[in-house]
């Protein structure tokens, strides 16, 4: 199994990266500080839902993308620029072996890092939460791992498509910035172009689909449903680009804003499909592009 050989070798190298573990340590520290700060917040009850809401924001919108991109963006372009890709080819590996092997190994690394973060969070939750729901935490963990793998996959794809490490980093960070900062105003802009005004509280269903094609938004919406609370994104665009009131944040839940039964594309499971598509489509494009590219 050539793919397994290359994946195992790559995994050994990446796991030894001090930079990745340093950033991981920094984020864990940050998580700890925020967790303890919220625990010492006096009278309010600390629930699993509350903690998940807190970490879904910081973790999913900042920590997971940053580490995911760091782990993935050098995967292929690094070998290409250093010249070691020629050695891999000489050892019998094909372009497909390299892309698949690297995707596997880098996914493994981000899974390890995410599980480590989740374990830290689990320990904190057990200690500081007044009640703890393991089932809910497991669901949250699974979705968070999927999101983390997605960011790494996008970075690996960028690494296969571009010819220099800076372009790979730029493309991967660009995708993240698009998701975290610009997607929502773009979606609202499209609504404005079609409908003639900014989306209102009861916006059309296609608009909600458009916003949740952003994997971070999809993730937030699912976490919102599971924890029965509105989970904010890093930037509260909803109050800027939509004509809504945010006095009661939970009124912004999708289930509140869409009357009647949700269409399938606004359901929980479809959010998972969207995130998986954000793995599959970039990798498919990367595979197509990498198989055709001159690699010097």
């Amino acid at each position: 199994m050539r793919t397994a050989t290359i994946a195992r070798k790559d995994l050994e190298d990446v796991v030894r990266s001090r930079l990745i573990w340093a950033v991981f340590g920094l984020f864990v520290l940050l998580m700890g500080i925020i967790g303890i700060a919220s625990a010492s917040d006096g009278d309010s009850q600390i629930t699993t839902e509350g903690l998940i809401g807190l970490f879904a924001n910081l973790g999913a919108w900042l920590m997971v993308p940053v580490i995911g991109i760091m782990i993935g963006y050098m995967a292929i372009v690094g070998e290409r620029q250093s010249g070691s890709l020629r050695i891999l080819f000489g050892l019998g590996f094909t372009r497909r072996d390299v892309l698949t092997g690297k995707l596997l190994s880098r996914s493994m690394v981000i899974i390890i890092v995410t599980i480590a973060s989740l374990l830290v969070m689990l320990v904190m939750a057990v200690f500081i939460a007044d009640s703890f729901d393991l089932g809910l935490f497991a669901q949250f963990a699974a979705l968070s791992i999927l999101l983390a793998v997605m960011f790494t996959a996008i970075a690996v794809a960028a690494s296969a498509i571009t010819a220099t490490r800076y372009r790979a980093m730029g493309a991967a960070i660009g995708a993240y910035v698009l998701f975290a900062m610009f997607w929502h105003p773009f979606a609202a802009g499209i609504h404005y172009l079609i409908v003639g005004e900014l989306p209102a509280y009861e916006a059309p269903e296609w608009y909600f689909l458009l916003t949740r094609l952003n994997p971070l938004e999809a993730y937030n919406q699912v976490i919102s449903v599971w924890t029965d609370q509105y989970v904010w994104g890093m930037i509260g665009w909803v109050t800027v680009v939509e004509d809504v009131s945010f006095e009661d944040a939970n009124s912004l839940l999708l289930t509140e804003r869409v009357s009647g039964e949700l269409p399938f594309y606004l359901s929980d499971w479809f959010a998972g499909v969207i995130i998986i598509l954000w793995v599959a489509v970039p990798i498919a494009i990367a595979s197509w592009s990498f198989n055709r590219a001159d690699l010097n």
Partner: protein, 307 residues
């Protein structure tokens, strides 16, 4: 079947032609020197053979397999030492060789390979981030040899190596050749190529300007060995008619007789003496490869040895 065969192999980047219609045949079992200055298109050729880049025109086969459509078959049978590479810094040298053996399903032995390229067991235990350029070069050679390739492609293999390293590398090339491996030896250094190669191709600005043995190239280019005689008088006619003599001229009072056949030397001396001229001293001037190279790469194929 040829080890390497290219037909009109061409690579263009926009308006720049990196390789222009290369027709090359490297026979199985030979050590082929691929000579050219930096930027002549040597690495472009190797990259095309490796399917690292795609040709603008033409095609190539390695051991009968098309390099583009039968990449798996090709890559299973070659070993490559590329020019200018980094290895995986956090892994040990030993792990690199283990990986190469795993990848090539080679039954070879890690320690044997490491020893063969002249790395010591303590070197092999260190991580490659601590390696010098020469050590990396040796390690990559060990990786190239893993899996006993039928064709060994070496791109500037002596770069970064000290004289010991170069000697070891040449010994390896000779050992491999003796075992039947074809070696494609790309270099801009003539003495490296001349030391190990059976035949040489000269590449200049993307064009293959000559292919022959070193001796054949020399005589074809008129760059031959010369007998330089210090004489006390003019030499009568007839020298040029001698077998093996290609050129006669006088330079700074020295008589210089170019020959293609080494056995012509004695006859030359006899002839001069027979003419009643006293030979005070004589030396042999061997054609330098630099001169040979100049002749081909300047497109001046009729040039001779300059004094």
């Amino acid at each position: 079947m040829n080890a390497i065969e290219t037909s009109r192999l061409t690579k263009r980047y926009g308006s720049v032609t990196a390789l222009d219609g290369l027709n090359l045949e490297v026979e199985a079992g030979e050590v082929f020197g691929f000579l050219g200055q930096n930027g002549a298109g040597k690495t472009t050729t190797i990259d095309l053979l490796l399917d690292f880049i795609r040709p603008s025109e033409g095609h190539a086969t390695i051991l009968g397999y098309d390099v583009q459509t039968e990449t798996d078959e090709v890559r299973e049978r070659i070993g490559i030492l590329p020019e200018g590479f980094d290895l995986w810094e956090r892994s040990t040298g030993r792990r690199h060789v283990e990986f190469a053996l795993e990848a090539t399903d080679g039954g070879g032995d890690v320690d044997t390979l490491i020893e063969r390229v002249g790395l010591t067991p303590p070197d092999a235990k260190r991580s490659v981030g601590e390696y010098s350029k020469g050590m990396k070069q040796r390690l990559a050679m060990a990786m190239a040899l893993a899996g006993e390739p039928e064709l060994l492609i070496l791109d500037e293999p002596s770069s970064g190596l000290d004289p010991h390293g170069i000697r070891r590398m040449r010994e390896i090339v000779r050992e491999e050749a003796a075992a039947g491996t074809t070696v494609f030896f790309s270099s801009h250094q003539l003495e490296q190529v001349a030391a190990v190669c059976d035949r040489v191709g000269i590449l200049n600005e993307g064009l293959l300007v000559a292919t022959d043995s070193i001796e054949g190239l020399s005589s074809a280019a008129g760059v031959g060995n010369e007998l330089v005689l210090e004489v006390d008088g003019p030499v009568s006619e007839g020298l040029e008619q001698l077998n093996g003599v290609v050129d006669v001229h006088t330079d700074n009072g020295e008589l210089r007789v170019g020959y293609a056949d080494p056995q012509a030397k004695a006859q030359i001396v006899h002839h001069v003496v027979d003419c009643g001229v006293t030979v005070q001293d004589f030396t042999i001037a061997e054609a330098s490869l630099e001169e040979l190279f100049e002749v081909y790469t300047n497109g001046d194929e009729t040039g001779g040895v300059s004094a």
